[in-house]
């Protein structure tokens, strides 16, 4: 980092020299195609998580970037979410991160507080971001990540199944109402391999939501400890037992086999809590199966407090070890603020976080649904929690694994809560 100014100077010199050479070459032999910088381009790498559809459009945008910036070549790579993070954490240890990388809010502190990310102030164009969005990109008062888009939690459900069963999720419906809805829809479907809703207790994001609805939080403000006690976790992990006994939700041996697909895509699941931009992932396949999806606010026992907040769905960062900070920043600016790139990328990653993005994005029917939903809950949005502690990735995984023990009935909810506290406290301590 100390070398930054030197590096930048050297780079400017190099780029300058290269550009001159390019001009000369172009003048000398104009019809020989691109020459000069294009012959000896600067290589940067860019990686993200997602599926092939996302990879296709991202590659198109990157190709356009390369066309417009002849001296820069971008090497791209992608994988699914868990694989992506396994790769990034391993490469973080080897100081071998890609120049530009996709960041998740839950991982920001893990990478940012360990000096893996380059400060972006003055490097990336921050003038376009919509109010409030940049707040989630700071670690130790330094901007290290810029948001691509935002999302918030919601309940995604099969409106066709719910209508057929005569079940309505009235605004302000409670968790009990939700459980009854699941049970009625499952009963109405009566197929044995389709369910009105899923067990939601294995994801820490949803427990966080439940705690926020009661005015609590998952971690303490300084991120050094859990901010709830074992009895609350025991209660959380016991609350779906009835749904399982009645067969209203899919059993664990079924759901473990869904990955990497999803219950909606497989036409087996009627409702689930989730990030609202996931609608874009599920909806096309559900439509192919002849169904339709809708978004509702999550259930709450206190209608005045839904616990929602606007979270960056994804962020872009630059590795602190990059040799090409300027070019990496150019790529980020291009992806977030170039009207053509925005049109190509669409709402695949969520509704853009920049004003130029909002003006240029083509909003299809699905994105409109998400936009409408976000508008409908806007009045309930509260301040986001501080970036979760570095150990969050590992804690999130343990949360799911240990709840599996409850579902397989190898642990009681109370034992599982004990185990989780031991594991989480060890992980939090190891990061301090």
């Amino acid at each position: 980092m100390i070398n930054n100014s030197h590096r930048a100077k050297r780079r400017t010199l190099l780029t300058g020299a290269a550009a001159t050479a390019a001009l000369g070459a172009a003048a000398a032999c104009g019809d020989d195609g691109p020459a000069g910088t294009a012959d000896d381009p600067i290589q940067i790498s860019f990686e993200w998580w997602g599926d092939e559809a996302r990879a296709d459009i991202t590659q198109q945008a990157v190709d356009l970037f390369q066309e417009k910036n002849e001296g820069i070549k971008v090497r791209t790579n992608f994988s699914d979410f868990p694989t992506y993070w396994e790769s990034m954490t391993t490469r973080m240890a080897g100081r071998d991160l890609p120049d530009v990388l996709n960041m998740d809010y839950s991982r920001l502190l893990q990478f940012g507080s360990n000096g893996m990310l380059l400060p972006l102030e003055g490097l990336v164009d921050t003038s376009q971001f919509i109010e409030g969005f940049l707040d989630t990109g700071y670690v130790n008062d330094e901007l290290v990540a810029v948001p691509i888009a935002g999302n918030t939690l919601g309940l995604i459900y099969r409106s066709d199944w719910y209508e057929a069963a005569g079940v309505e999720l009235e605004p302000g419906y409670t968790w009990d109402d939700y459980h009854q809805a699941i049970a009625s829809v499952t009963a109405e479907l009566g197929s044995g391999s389709q369910w009105g809703g899923g067990d939601y207790a294995g994801q820490y994001h949803f427990m966080e939501l439940w705690l926020r609805q009661q005015g609590g939080s998952f971690y303490t403000e300084d991120g050094t400890a859990l901010n709830f006690d074992k009895s609350e976790l025991t209660a959380w992990w016991s609350r779906n037992a009835g749904l399982h006994t009645d067969g209203a939700v899919p059993p664990i041996d079924v759901t473990t086999q869904w990955a990497p697909e999803n219950g909606f895509v497989l036409d087996q699941l009627g409702a689930d809590l989730g990030w609202d931009n996931f609608l874009a992932w599920y909806a096309p396949t559900v439509a192919e199966n002849g169904g339709s999806l809708a978004l509702a606010a999550p259930p709450t026992d206190d209608p005045s407090s839904i616990g929602l907040y606007l979270k960056p769905s994804m962020q872009l960062c630059i590795s602190a070890t990059t040799d090409h900070a300027e070019q990496s920043a150019q790529l980020i600016d291009f992806l977030l603020t170039d009207p053509e790139a925005i049109a190509i990328l669409g709402t695949n990653r969520g509704i853009p976080a920049t004003s130029v993005g909002r003006e240029n994005v083509v909003v299809d029917e699905i994105s409109q649904q998400v936009l409408d939903y976000e508008a409908s809950v806007e009045q309930y949005l509260t301040t986001p929690p501080p970036p979760p502690p570095s150990a969050t990735g590992a804690i999130e995984a343990k949360f799911g694994e240990i709840y599996e023990q409850v579902l397989y009935e190898t642990m009681t909810p109370a034992d599982a809560a004990d185990t989780f506290f031991t594991e989480a406290e060890t992980l939090l301590a190891a990061e301090q």
Partner: protein, 282 residues
């Protein structure tokens, strides 16, 4: 020798010594760490996940090693007959061991053992109602045992070589004495083969303790379902590369080295009584 020694020193001894040092520190993969003496080792023995991983690994060793060796010996005996087309069969039986560690095979394995997959439907005919092994923690380890057994190529080839070395005169003499097939197997084949059997048992046991690739692809970092495929090495990997606790993971790793060393020593002890070397006075 020199290049070999340099390679071993740099690529094996060096990292091993480094990890031994790390096991006495609270080394965090990114932030480094400090000397904490034996704290990691005492923490391991208070770690419930340690006992889970040990149970899963021991169960695998106890199941996979004997089944794999019996199967490979049986096939080796079939293939040791001198008939036409034998080399084709040998290649065919050896083939799986070359591809068993690939991602493709692991994915096929997952499909075979999913709910409604081949195993579920086949066993359903006989009244099985436990679903696919993939989602059932009480039997999921069998997937990995079967994968190991299926790839028995290496011990099979070694058995085959051993069987070829047994002097035919012994069998001819036994024929003259009127010994049956079983008698010949127990009295001639097994004793003559015992050094090879010992070698295979040793190699397979040591290998089984360290199984990682197939377990990691099928069960993932979390040893799903419900930690039932959380092998010792998978636990080490998760501790080191997801939790970043390199010091603690190194302590785990060195306990595995000790355990495997101990098992090997016990086996050599037992071998003194059980293994027969031709030409030896006894």
């Amino acid at each position: 020798m020199i290049p070999w020694i340099i390679g071993t020193a740099i690529l094996t001894i060096g990292p091993m010594a480094w990890s031994l040092y790390l096991s006495f520190t609270d080394y965090h993969l990114i932030r480094g760490g400090e000397w904490i003496g034996l704290d990691n080792y005492t923490a391991v023995f208070n770690d419930p996940m340690f006992y889970r991983a040990v149970r899963v690994t021991l169960l695998y060793v106890v199941l996979a090693v004997p089944v794999k060796l019996v199967a490979s010996l049986a096939v080796a005996m079939l293939l040791s007959q001198r008939r036409r087309g034998m080399s084709f069969y040998r290649a065919a039986f050896y083939m799986p061991s070359l591809i068993a560690m690939s991602v493709g095979v692991a994915l096929i394995w997952k499909a075979l053992f999913a709910n409604g997959g081949v195993q579920d439907r086949f066993m359903g005919v006989f009244g099985w109602d436990g679903g696919g092994f993939l989602g059932n923690p009480s039997v999921s380890i069998l997937m990995l045992v079967l994968l190991a057994v299926w790839s028995f190529g290496a011990p099979m080839v070694i058995f085959l070589a051993g069987l070829m070395q047994v002097p035919q005169e012994l069998y001819e003499a036994a024929d003259v004495d009127g010994a049956g097939k079983w008698h010949k197997f127990v009295r001639i084949t097994l004793p003559m083969l015992s050094p090879v059997i010992f070698f295979n048992v040793l190699m397979e046991t040591v290998g089984a303790f360290q199984v990682f690739g197939s377990a990691y692809i099928i069960g993932g970092e979390s040893g799903s379902p419900a930690w039932s495929t959380l092998f010792y090495t998978v636990r080490i990997y998760t501790l080191a590369f997801t939790d970043f606790r390199m010091g603690y993971a190194s302590a785990y790793a060195w306990l595995l080295v000790l355990a495997v060393g101990l098992v090997t020593a016990v086996m050599f002890r037992a071998a003194k009584r059980l293994v027969f070397y031709a030409g030896e006075d006894k």
